[in-house]
Chain length 701, copies 2
């Protein structure tokens, strides 16, 4: 076990805020800057207190503004006026959340889902026919995948598209109420077309879910056979007109099938470049991964805004005067306040750095630079691992920031509450977080099975249980950690141990691999058992396997963070960022400390030093808190929170000046407590005097 201290620590480190800010902006820094400049304009901002109708109308108009500003076409083909820039498109898109999450998501519906489906699932004829109108917003459209009865389980949707060779048309139909399309942005009011996902049936065979381009509305309302309902008010994102759609034997031309991955000939013959229906389905769905990628980034951006506001306030606001009679403490000097905010800054850095890597991976696949089946699967797994973490973290961060600002945090103009309301649904849409983590878990189990296909399962389970040193297991990061850790280390040695990145990586990685190995061992052979039994067995481990997937995502975040720490050149920045990475890693380890203890990865003695060491890290990081959030790079035009304008410092200064003047004047009232203390002191003195007189009297007697 290496005990090296990896980073040369600087005596009194300072962060190079500008350079760190640049690093956070990442590869598409220029696009992000352009998008932030746009998000800073009043035209793009949310106006609070609008009615549902007003907010929807405003956001629709804002989409037009985005078109004018050429802000949303980056991912489309050059020949149609786009720039084939996939990573940059997402980077720019996710910054819109800072202006108004409704604007971000409504733009996402129009160009990221509806437009992308035509782009990625359609072929050139479709592109030429519909993309110009979609790009210009002449065709506002909905993305009609989810149904009332089927959200996460898209393969089981009920809508059918049956081919009629007599008329060369598809007949779209909603066979029952649960098959109504649901929660569709643009379906409530604005959409004139939709990409509708339905079971493609031709010649008596159901070829599974395919996408169809379907006109739904004209100036007079729904077209014949199309119906729907407005979803009305939601818990947030009320600038978007979500709604339901249903179809009563609606006929569309055969060529409205978006036929990149599956086509029907005039005579009804089905063909597809992908033979396996399962793989075909996942390939089609995989083209829409950018939704998840962009939510990961938007959740990160919103977290940055929240922390920049809350830390600014915590550095100005004072409350209670514990350490002196006249000066109240600044909130961020309280340990509890540090515990509430600083680990969340660390988490946000981890989210930001991991997101940047996700964006790179996304760009490699979608630019064609590395577009293989394997790369697509990796991308989907990465997105499925990170999106749940960042969207849940964003809600946690927004809430903690709001609470850390007390009542002021609850006032709408200070931003937290509306952002949280809008981001709430990010944790269940574009893939419910629990379902996504289960997908990740299944991938982890499949990879594990692949690796050990030839080994006996019982042996494997025993391996995992014993944490045996093994070449194969080591690829999974399992290590013989226990032996060197049970030594009775001094507190200093324990700190050196905890801050060693190798320790953090080993603990985090080992937990993932052990949990996967354990579950894999217990599920071994399940596939050969009756379906209901196999399902029950998997279900019996569902909670644990989801926990493993979560831990896997966190490990990826930790690794991305560490790579970025390694990339820093400025010594001061590197020092502080190393502490921040340590804080991130150690807080994860602290959260699952019971696991590390139960499994012998950490001795009780070492474990007991973890909490105090984290507190030391907090104290060390506290002076850098403002720099760390300022490096996020949002200006007042993005924060738009009264309490982050410096108004609190002004008020505190005014109050303190008032009391200083009062103390210096003759007018200051005396505090009753002081008066009582004085009276007691003089009584005591009088008693003492009397006593000494008595003694004098006695001694004189």
């Amino acid at each position: 076990m290496s005990q090296e201290i990896p980073t040369a620590e600087v005596a009194d480190p300072r962060i190079d805020v500008a350079a760190l800010g640049e690093q956070l902006l990442g590869r598409w820094a220029k696009t992000r800057r352009t998008a932030r400049e746009l998000s800073a304009r009043p035209e793009a901002h949310r106006i609070e207190g609008l009615s549902l109708e007003e907010h929807r109308a405003r956001v629709f108009d804002q989409l037009g503004y985005l078109v004018e500003q050429k802000a949303v076409h980056r991912a489309f083909p050059e020949r149609l006026g786009g720039s084939d820039n996939h990573g940059g498109n997402i980077a720019g898109f996710e910054e819109l959340v800072v202006a108004d999450p409704s604007l971000q998501i409504k733009a996402g519906v129009q160009w990221g889902l509806f437009g992308s489906a035509v782009l990625h699932l359609g072929t050139r004829e479709h592109h030429d026919k519909w993309l110009p109108g979609i790009m210009s917003l002449d065709i506002p459209g909905a993305f009609a995948m989810t149904e009332i009865g089927h959200g996460s389980d898209v393969a089981a949707i009920g809508t059918t598209a049956t081919y009629d060779p007599d008329t060369e048309e598809f007949v779209l139909h909603t066979p029952f109420r649960a098959a109504w399309k649901e929660f569709l942005g643009n379906a409530g009011v604005h959409g004139t077309a939709a990409v509708v996902f339905a079971q493609l049936i031709t010649r008596g065979v159901n070829h599974g879910v395919h996408a169809f381009y379907v006109p739904i509305r004209d100036a007079d309302g729904f077209l014949p056979g199309v119906g729907g309902e407005d979803d009305g008010l939601k818990g947030g994102l009320n600038g978007i007109d979500n709604g339901r759609l249903h179809f009563d034997r609606v006929r569309i031309p055969r060529t409205n099938l978006l036929n990149r991955y599956g086509d029907v000939a005039v005579d009804g013959t089905y063909s597809s470049p992908i033979e396996s229906p399962g793989r075909r389905f996942f390939t089609m769905l995989g083209t829409l991964v950018q939704g998840r990628v962009s939510l990961d980034g938007a959740a990160t951006a919103a977290s940055k805004v929240a922390l920049q506001i809350a830390v600014t306030y915590a550095n100005q606001r004072r409350q209670f005067n514990a350490s002196s009679d006249t000066d109240e403490e600044v909130l961020l000097d309280y340990q509890r306040h540090q515990r509430r905010l600083l680990p969340r800054i660390a988490t946000t850095y981890a989210m930001s750095f991991a997101h940047e890597e996700l964006l790179e991976t996304f760009d490699q696949v979608f630019s064609g630079e590395r577009d293989t089946d394997e790369a697509r699967q990796d991308l989907e797994t990465l997105a499925a691992a990170l999106k749940p973490l960042s969207t849940w973290n964003a809600l946690d961060i927004l809430q903690e920031c709001r609470e850390a600002c007390g009542g002021a945090g609850f006032i709408t103009k200070n931003r937290f509450t509306s952002l949280r309301q809008d981001l709430d649904v990010y944790v269940t849409f574009e893939g419910d977080n629990n379902v996504l983590l289960q997908l990740v878990a299944k991938r982890l189990l499949a990879d594990y099975a692949e690796e050990f296909r030839k080994l006996d399962a019982g042996v494997l389970a025993r391996y995992a249980a014993r944490q045996a040193e093994d070449v194969a297991l080591n690829r999974w990061g399992l290590r013989q950690l226990a032996q060197s850790w049970t030594d009775a280390g001094s507190e200093k040695r324990s700190a050196n141990f905890l801050k060693d990145p190798q320790t953090q990586r080993d603990l985090l990685a080992d937990r993932v691999s052990t949990m996967v190995a354990e579950v894999a061992g217990e599920l071994k052979g399940a596939a050969k058992r009756p379906q209901a039994e196999a399902a029950a067995l998997f279900n019996h481990h569902q909670d644990r396997i989801i926990a493993a997937a979560r831990a896997h995502g966190e490990l990826l975040q930790w690794e991305a963070f560490t790579r970025q720490v390694d990339a820093v050149e400025d010594a001061g920045t590197k020092s502080v960022l190393t502490w921040l990475r340590d804080l991130f890693g150690l807080c994860l380890i602290e959260r699952d400390l019971d696991w590390h203890l139960m499994n012998g990865r950490l001795s009780g003695q070492r474990a007991r030093t973890l909490g105090p060491y984290i507190n030391r890290l907090l104290a060390r990081l506290r002076p850098h808190a403002q720099d760390l959030v300022d490096a996020f790079g949002y200006g007042p035009e993005h924060l738009r929170a009264e309490i982050a304008t410096g108004i609190e410092a002004e008020r505190q200064d005014e109050a303190r000046a008032y009391y200083r003047r009062l103390r210096a004047s003759a007018e200051a009232p005396v505090d009753e407590k002081v008066l009582i203390a004085r009276r007691r002191a003089s009584e005591k003195a009088r008693l003492k005097e009397r006593g000494s007189k008595a003694r004098v009297g006695r001694s004189g007697a």
Copy 2:
């Protein structure tokens, strides 16, 4: 260590829902029923989508309706039309949250804060003069305590009330911007008077914070010298017109001082029945504890509504067909879904039973039945311990329920999001949760110090560290747990151990007392050190001591739950409720399992059986989930959530009937996957046939 199994387990237990419902309603069941009947009426309901102005106007009108219905005068004196019923008043009041939290809180401002301040801080003359108008809503009023610069630290507010003997008036003044009164319900629009808290200054002495009755508005707006601002939109509770107030040398008669605990004579002489200014301050504030008590109850009521909706949906909604080809699983059959909802049901039972005890304690003090200094302090500590837990839990429960219902949970008409938005501020108002827990912690430390005043601190710390058997320590629940627990128990023995209530109590109680003892040891002598050093030392342990206070509150909840389990007579109900209590206790122990391991309270081996045992409890409780939430007793008129009306079961039934008909008909399309499987099977058969022919050929050769 007793290994007895305390509850006779019933083979196939059933809950007596009606009886359990009655038990949950508690001592003031009749009042709760009356209040629920009122909350069920459309007149009391929130209408979603109203503008700020419309919602405010509606809620103000609803206050009038409450007066008409005689729903809000229970706590006032009989001679003025009340019924001197303090516990019942809170029980009824907190049920209003189910109609609209804005209505609850606005009623709380008018009668619970403004009216209560006149009642408890004023004297008979004040009661006769103002209470009738306050009770009838002729005088809508604000409770002006909090200032922009001072929320939690009320003692340090900046507003002054200086006595002028020449005119026999107090002069109310706001000396600087941070001293503006802030977040005051009724101050934005409706209030015509306010109880204003200010530093009372007479004859050059500041006697600390006192309350003054101050008219602020007439039909033409603010009275001379009074000014203010509307707080505008908030993250929730927008039916309440919160606002700011400030005073520019506003003169009020001497007799407008609410003088129960402190008076100023005509000549300016100050007098008080309580000599110590500190005790006087806390006594005055203590009369307002009912705000915290009622938030504890309202948070519990909202949690019940949320769980009743989410569990109903989880029992109807299906998704994914893991265990059969045709039937999808009901959500609540998934282990993860059980993990998400069932422990939260257990927590809500704990909150409900603990709240009932808090209400009893409150009633004893306020009815005069047990109105001693000690009883008041106990009440305040209990309220300060429980309110943070229940309000935080409510947010957690509302959010998990919303997520567990997916997109449907995000639609406003399904209730979760608006309730969560409204209850958000419950965690920081009427005492910020972190500040309240710190108060509890200080009380725990003070009690500890009291008990061990004569013992040496170093000895104590060592006692705590060694968990020595000691008579004194045993009063704190410390036990020599480790020795009997390190035995290599079988899984069954471990389960018997974990479900023993004595085990749960010991583990929970021991953690509180050990943490308190440890911090006490480290703080020993701090009081004698310079103020700044003592403050720094306390701050160094702030996070841990707040954790101890939280654990203390949870222990109180566990004990209240256990007392109610013991009180159940029906055997089936008792069985299920015992499992539920075990789930509550064991989930708490699981959350802090690292502590129990590090401190040798649980062996690694026993700890490893905890998770699996909790999973077994979940499976056992799962069939009772609906009964457990139905026992909360809210009807459709309270839930008012579309997804809890049975609509989901109807949709699922319709869809399943459709597929059954389809399968039975000749029209069902064949699934492409089935077709491929058939083709493969026939190819295989063909190959096999060929092979056997070849073999036949060979053998024949």
